[in-house]
Structures are given as C-alpha cells and as structure tokens.
C-alpha cells in the first residue's frame, strides 16, 4: 500500500511541477534558515567538558552594599569574587579541588630579533590543572611553595612551547613575557574548552585559549594586568587585594551530592559570618549561591542576544513557510475531490485517503529537507564568514543532519494534516455526480 501511495504522490507532484517546486522550495528555505540558526545555538550551548562538567561548580558571593546601583549599565560586579572571599574559599579547601583565577595577556618575547606575539594566559592557583583535567606532557604544576612564595614560574601550552622553543620538553627553560622572566615548570597539552566556561564575562568564550598559566600570587605581586572586568565600589579602594573590588573567578570540584550539599552549607555559613562581621549587607540566602557548570553558563546568558533573535527570526520564517504550504496543500488536495470520490466509491476508507495525502505531504517534506540541508550548509558557511568569536564553530554534525531531515518531514506532515483531513471528508456521491 505504501508503495502505491508513494506512486500516487509522485504522480501528483509531477502533474503540477511548478506548484510542487514552490512547496519544496518553501519548505527548503524555512528548514534551511531555521537549521542554520539551531546549529549555531547547538554549538554555543554545548557542554564544554563532557564527563567532567557535572562535578564542577561555581560559588557566587555578593558583597555589594544594598545601595549599590550601576543603573543597568556596565557589568554586575557581584559576578566576580573579591580577593578576600576567593582566598577564604581557597583556604577552607572544602572541595575535592578548587582554584581561583583571572585572565591576563602578555607579549611573548621569543628572544633575539624574533618578532614578539600576543598570548592569552591565566593567573591561577595550583588546583586548576587537576580540577579541569589538563594533561601534562612535561613537568608538573608549580609546587605549593612556589605558589606561596610568588615564584616567577609558568606552565605553558604545548603550542606555545613549540612556537617559542621548537620543542615541548622545555621544563627549566626561561620564558620572557612582557617585561618579566619566568621559569617553565610544566607543559600541558593544548586545552580549549568550548565554550570557555571559566572566563570572565568580558572574555571571548568561543575563540582563543590559554597558552600560559602563572601563579596568582606571582601575578599580583608583579602587578600583571588583568584582562576582565575589575569593578570597585567601596571606600576600601581598588587594589587587587581590596575587599571592595571584584575581579576573580572561582571554581570548585565536588564529586558527590553529599559534597555538594555540604559545600552549599559552607557557603551559606560563610555569608552569614560575613554579614555578622558587617561586610555583607544581604542575607546569606541572597548573598551566597552555588551554580553547576551548565547552570552558571545558562545564568550568564552566553548566547548573545543577536544570535537568539536571529534564531527566533528563522523559526518565524519557517512558520510563515509552513502556513503557506498548508494553504497550498489544502487548495491542491481539495481540487482532487473527483479523484478522491472515485477512490472512495471503489472502497477506499477515509483513513486510506488520509494516509495517501499524508504520504504526499511527507514526500514534499523529504525533498524540502534535502534542499534545506543544502541551504543550511550554505547558511552555516555564511555564518563562518562573520567576525564573531563563535563563527568558526558553526559546523553541522551528524545529529543536526538527522534532525534537519526529521524536522522537514515532521513540519510538512504537520502542514499536511489539516488538508489531508479535509480531503478525507469529501463526500463521494456529490462529487461523482459532478464528474
């Protein structure tokens, strides 16, 4: 029966080639546009560390006075942590691993007359490497003694090691960043999670990677520049160790639900203590929170407004295409009242007619889906030409490919249901008379 319906569908499509072409084109355009934007959203919303992200958490502490306002302009200072708060969490050591961090960047001086180049780096604490699962190909993280004595040591990426030294066995060599010398203590495999979940809101999340890591204490004592929001608000001024300037990010690894619950209590108690001491003005419920990794990314709205607006636009366009197709299918099916009557008179049940027309709609969907796939590839190519940081990630994977075809078929079936149902209700006798 299916084969027969497919034959009927094919014949009907060929009888009105222009009309069928228009319907396929409309589905193709709608599916192409919407799948382009869904693919972009899909890569932007991806899990940056599959297998590890469920154990990573981001504490949030809000030390801002109640009267603080930035009129909705500029970044919210409570997103980052102050030095005293980050150090308190670090020293408490309640997680399996934890690290405080901030972005930095420097000019790498390769020495001699070789041209310097810019690199992005991170000032952080020892736990960073084990917690995020960075793999050392040579050496290891700096020691806790290096960390506490603010030694000028650095861990670099394999890519940077090769670029500067031509090798990745470079532990003990000296690296010149801006105007300081550092001793290389470790080399890690290149590491670039997408999105860069741990960076400051002002950083690019889909482009670039950290090529060097220096101890936070060293960075502070050398006065390295921080790339990221540094917001001061109080009378304590705006030094890196000020209690009223936020600039640090903090992540903690918690392996079990029990640990998570314990950490929540710890944060709550910490905020309560700070309030009792007069430093925090908000209640602990409001001042202390613990976000999961994916929860944090969702709260940060990492998908830019213009991307979600374009996605909405693409879906609206698909809707318009579908409404259009419903109207066209309806007109087309009802024109075939005579044919339907003959089939009904010869014993076809209503549901047979319904099935026949649904299959014809699905056939339009399959063809439209194929066209949509081509158009989506074209659309993604055009997205990749944009200057935005996420542009190069816009590639279709197998999952999205299947989804594209499925979406086209489902969409055309939805569009076909009403026309097919109306067609199935055609009364045979009335139409036969008119034949």
């Amino acid at each position: 029966m299916l084969r027969y319906y497919l034959q009927l569908a094919w014949r009907s499509l060929r009888r009105h080639p222009v009309m069928s072409g228009l319907m396929v084109l409309a589905i193709g355009l709608g599916i192409g546009a919407s799948m382009t934007m869904l693919t972009v959203l899909h890569v932007m919303d991806a899990d940056p560390l599959p297998g590890r992200s469920a154990q990573l958490f981001r504490p949030y502490l809000n030390p801002l006075p109640r009267s603080y306002t930035n009129n909705g302009l500029g970044p919210d200072p409570s997103i980052n942590l102050t030095w005293p708060d980050a150090m308190a969490l670090l020293q408490a050591g309640k997680g399996a691993q934890q690290a405080a961090m901030a972005g930095t960047r420097a000019l790498v001086m390769p020495g001699g007359n070789r041209r310097p180049f810019r690199a992005q780096g991170r000032m952080t604490t020892r736990g960073f490497f084990a917690m995020f699962g960075l793999h050392f190909v040579d050496g290891a993280s700096w020691s806790s003694a290096d960390g506490s004595s603010a030694a000028q040591v650095v861990v670099i990426s394999q890519g940077l090691a090769r670029r500067v030294f031509g090798s990745n066995q470079v532990v003990g060599r000296s690296l010149h960043l801006d105007s300081h010398d550092y001793r290389v203590v470790g080399v890690v495999r290149d590491w670039a999670p997408r999105p860069m979940f741990y960076v400051d809101d002002s950083a690019q999340r889909y482009k670039g990677a950290d090529d060097y890591f220096v101890p936070l204490s060293t960075a502070v004592s050398l006065g390295l520049r921080v790339s990221g929001n540094q917001s001061g608000w109080g009378k304590d001024g705006i030094g890196p160790k000020s209690a009223t300037m936020s600039w640090l990010q903090f992540w903690v690894q918690l392996d079990t639900p029990v640990q998570v619950a314990a950490y929540r209590r710890f944060l709550h108690n910490y905020a309560a203590q700070q309030k009792a001491a007069g430093r925090f003005e908000r209640s602990p419920e409001k001042a202390a929170r613990l976000y999961s990794l994916m929860g944090w990314l969702a709260a940060r709205h990492i998908v830019p407004g213009d991307v979600s607006m374009q996605a909405g636009l693409a879906m609206a366009f698909l809707l318009v295409c579908l409404v259009n197709i419903v109207a066209l299918l309806l007109a087309k099916f009802l024109r075939r009242a005579g044919e339907i009557s003959v089939r009904r008179a010869l014993g076809a049940r209503r549901r047979d007619i319904f099935a026949q027309f649904c299959i014809e709609s699905a056939a339009v969907g399959v063809l439209g889906g194929a066209l949509g796939l081509l158009l989506a590839e074209l659309g993604l190519w055009s997205v990749r030409q944009r200057p935005d940081d996420y542009a190069h990630l816009a590639q279709m994977d197998v999952g999205m490919l299947g989804l594209t075809i499925a979406a086209a078929v489902v969409a055309s079936l939805c569009a076909g249901v009403l026309p097919a149902w109306r067609a199935a209700r055609v009364a045979p006798a009335l139409q036969l008379k008119a034949l």
């Binding site: 000019l107 180049f117 259009n324 309806l330 007109a331």
Partner: protein, 404 residues
C-alpha cells in the same frame, strides 16, 4: 467591479482564505519590524567622526602597548614616521573615534559638588600636531599652544593639563546656553584639578558609542607623550597604501623585536560598523525571502483557483464580461485578502515590537513604518496575481458550453 460576488465566492474557501490571511499577516508583522530595524541601524551608522577619515593612517607598535617604550623611542619613531614621503604631519593619541579601546573618567562641573559630576566621559589625550593631523574643525576658540603639552599619566593620579578642547554637543550639555570658552571642568579625586576649555570643535565622536558613554561625551587634552597610544599620520588619501607599508618598515628598522600594525583609519571605522552591516544584510535577506515565499504562495493559490474556476469564468465571459472584468475580479479578490492580512499584520507588528523591546534592546517602532510593510505586501500581492489573472482573462467564452 462590485465586491459582494468576490466575498461570496471566497466563502467557499474559508479555511484556505484564513490561512493565506494568516500567512500575509505574519509576513507583514516580521517585514515591518525588519525594515524598522534596518532603518534604525542605518541611522546609527551615519555619524561624523569629526576627523578627516580618509587622510589618516593609524600605526600601533607593541612596545607602546606594554609601556616599555620610553619617550626616546617614541620621539625617534615619530621622527622616522614624519620623514616618510607623503606624510604631512603625525601625532600620538591614546585612542581615536570608533576604535573601541578608551579611557573613561568622571568630571565635575563644580569642585567638591557631587551632584555636578558627569560619569563615563571619554578622555582623549594627544601630542603636538593633533589638530592638524586629525583635521579637527574648531567651531570657536583656539587650538593648543606648544607650551600647553605637558607630562600626564591619568592612571598615576598626575595633575592633568590645564586646558582642553571639547565637542560642541558635549559643551552644550555641560553648560546649556552659555559660551563654553573659558568655562572650567574639574578632574581628579573630588574634582581638585581645574581644566579650562579653550576650544570647541564641531564634532569629535567617542571611541565607543553605547548607552553608558553616549556618542560625543569626551574631551581632548594636550600631553607630551602617551603610554599605550598609537601613531596617527596624515597623508593624501591616494598615498595611504604606500605610507602604510613605509610606516611599518620604518618602525621595524628602529626596533625589529616588536609587533607593528599600520592601517587606514577608514578600515577601523568599517570594522566598527561591521556587525551593523551584517545585521542589515541578514535582515534584507530575511525580508527578501519572506516576500518571495508570500509571493509564491499567492501565485500558487491563485493559479489553482483560476484552474478550478475555468468553467465559471467561461460562463461569465459568455454572458458578457470583458477580459478586463475577469482581470479586475482576480485583482480585487487578491487585494481584499492581502489587505485584510496586511491590516492584521500591522497590529501584529506593534505586538511583535513590544515583545522585542522587552527581550532585546530595541527601540519603539515608529508608526511611520506600519504602512511600509502593509503597502509592500499589497503591491507584492497585486504583482503576484498578475500572471494567474491574465491567464484567467484569456479563458475563451466557449469553455462555458463544454462539460467540466
């Protein structure tokens, strides 16, 4: 042409007609908003930087950036750059209009009076030759005198230069209705350093245009040298390509161990508006696709109806209707359907705009755009129905005598 027969004929196709109206309404709502966003974006791209954009070349060197260069290098760099054939003048600035990187500060109109502060003011600093190099046009007052360029580092809390030049629009907002020349603004903690306005320029655009910083909220200070700045060269627009290559070569000859980047200033302005341009192109594509799909729908549907009504058309022709009556009939039918859709669409456009305003930073739809979308769709509908209607009008009266 009277409407009642058109309406009663459409009553036989209630669902189809409703669907077409819905489709037109959706398309109209989206097209209206898209056209509005295009217009709005275009209007924000029409800024006058106040500079001779096409005469400028901007050169950055990495040692300026990290502050390892001292005044010695900067002076020899400048001398080398001024020596390039075709460069008529050169200066060092901290940033330029539409270059994104900027220093922002607060200023006081009265020292110690907190209510007189103006926040998020962009501070331009530049070395001798700046007025001539940038091509700034004075509306009143004078340019800087050589002795007014002093050492100043804003980040070290130094006392600022004692004179400044401000754009006309900012002067007007600071001292409404007064002559800004000779007025004082105050910088530093508590507004302890007076700075006198000695000149007003027609325009000097901000390094970044955004809600926090506005578009022309800035002042220009004369300084002896700039840490973390960039060189600006003035040249004949036709010579820019050659000057860019020569500037790179000249700076690398002085110190090869640095990154040097030379660009035409117009490229920087282009890059600033790149996002806006891509939004415009995207929306143009969306509008084109929507209109195309709507047109395809109308063509398809009216072709079907024409085929379906061939016999009726024949009968009408046989009883005396002229070709243009048939033509008029289909145009009237189309106009009726599309204009109802367009009207609903105009209402939808307002609702859509309200929703967009709530979720994204979009301004309120100016009502002047409402007819644009509606008229666009009506014209499109009439054009799309042209073919099918013409075919209908060619149906010969003899069709009426045949069986169906």
């Amino acid at each position: 042409m009277s409407l009642p027969p058109v309406v009663s004929a459409l009553k036989h196709h209630k669902t189809t007609v409703a669907l077409v109206i819905l489709e037109i309404a959706l398309a109209c709502a989206i097209v209206t908003n898209a056209v509005f966003v295009i217009g709005h974006t275009l209007s924000t791209m029409r800024y006058d930087t106040g500079l001779d954009n096409r005469s400028l070349v901007v050169v950055t060197a990495s040692d300026l950036d990290i502050g390892t260069s001292h005044r010695g290098t900067q002076a020899s760099d400048l001398a080398a750059l001024r020596g390039i054939a075709g460069v008529t003048s050169a200066s060092v600035v901290n940033t330029l209009p539409l270059s994104n990187g900027f220093w922002a500060t607060s200023l006081w109109r009265a020292p110690g009076d907190k209510s007189s502060t103006v926040n998020n003011v962009i501070s331009y600093v530049a070395t001798p030759g700046v007025m001539k190099t940038l091509g700034l046009k004075l509306a009143s007052g004078r340019g800087f005198r050589p002795d007014e360029f002093v050492d100043y580092n804003m980040f070290k809390g130094d006392a600022p230069p004692s004179v400044a030049i401000v754009p006309k629009a900012f002067a007007e907002s600071l001292w409404p209705g007064k002559n800004p020349l000779g007025q004082r603004l105050y910088l530093g903690q508590g507004g302890k350093y007076p700075v006198q306005v000695i000149g007003v320029v027609d325009h000097l655009l901000n390094a970044s245009i955004d809600p926090a910083h506005g578009s022309e909220r800035n002042f220009l200070l004369p300084v002896a040298s700039v840490e973390g700045g960039r060189y600006v060269l003035r040249t004949d627009p036709a010579q820019r390509g050659r000057v860019i290559a020569a500037a790179r070569k000249a700076l690398l000859a002085i110190d090869p161990a640095r990154m040097v980047k030379a660009r035409a200033y117009t490229d920087i302005v282009q890059a600033y508006f790149h996002d806006d341009r891509s939004v415009i192109w995207l929306l143009v594509a969306v509008v084109a696709c929507l209109l195309a799909v709507s047109a395809l729908g109308v063509v398809g549907l009216s072709s079907f109806w024409v085929q379906q009504r061939t016999r009726q058309i024949g009968i009408r022709r046989a009883v005396g209707a002229r070709q243009r009556d048939i033509l008029g009939y289909f145009h009237a039918e189309n106009l009726l359907i599309v204009s109802v859709g367009a009207l609903l669409g105009a209402a939808g456009a307002v609702l859509l705009n309200l929703w967009l305003m709530k979720h994204y930073e979009l301004p309120r739809l100016s009502l002047g755009y409402l007819p644009v979308g509606a008229v666009l769709l009506c014209v499109l509908g009439q054009l799309s129905v042209l073919g099918p209607a013409w075919r209908a009008s060619r149906v010969p009266p003899v069709v009426a005598t045949r069986g169906s």
